[in-house]
Symmetry: C2
Subunit: 133 residues, 2 copies
């Protein structure tokens, strides 16, 4: 299966009950540019070569638009890549908007991650692209 190679993750999904709160947080606090939104159903963001898709699981479980059904509950984790030199500014920015930094973690190899929660309680992380290299 040499020619059958998965290149990258194209869509990463989060499930939230309150899409309005999520859209405010991901748009205004994290600064993502909205790609599309359907009230009560989803809000989508383009991120690099991929997409962050945030769904109301009540809607996606129904198999919206005749697509296969999906919908999770509980606490998910997503990490986002940022410039490592911007982590201090991110911390100041988030705290200034009332977002608590749950953990400011220094990894053994010297890289650093900021952990915080979105309004749904999902665990978000900001780290440099080099975290896994």
């Amino acid at each position: 299966m040499a020619h059958l190679k998965i290149q990258s993750v194209l869509e990463t999904c989060l499930y939230v009950d309150d899409l309005e709160a999520a859209a405010h947080f991901y748009g205004q606090v994290l600064g993502l540019e909205e790609f599309s939104r359907e009230a009560g159903k989803f809000v989508f963001y383009r991120l690099g070569e991929g997409m962050l898709l945030i769904f109301n699981p009540e809607a996606s479980r129904g198999g919206a638009h005749d697509l296969p059904d999906h919908g999770a509950s509980g606490v998910e984790h997503v990490a986002f890549a940022v410039e490592e030199e911007a982590l201090d500014a991110w911390r100041t920015h988030l705290e200034g908007l009332g977002v608590a930094i749950e953990l400011d973690h220094l990894w053994p190899h010297g890289r650093r991650s900021l952990y915080f929660r979105d309004p749904a309680g999902h665990s978000l992380e900001l780290a440099s692209k080099g975290l896994w290299s």
Copy 2:
């Protein structure tokens, strides 16, 4: 916040109760190269510039390694980017291994997606990078 720009998704997570079944599926069926594994806890894959992290939620909910806790249940969705010309070969490959194609979808703009399930029931999609362009 011009300099505070999120560049991409660095970590996409799935939660499965049976890590062995997941490792077989993502490794042998989807052909991903394992990056690291801790029995009963997680299996990680590097994918392009990001990582696919598969957790046993029982373990990750405990806040393993003193990291913030997370752990979801239900059906998640992840899409992976592949070469569009390889979709026929992917379909043959998956069906040959007994993976049912739940939907072979042609989008209005002409792009195509294959949908199927992993052993945990998560909804996976193979599509070309151009799906969202």
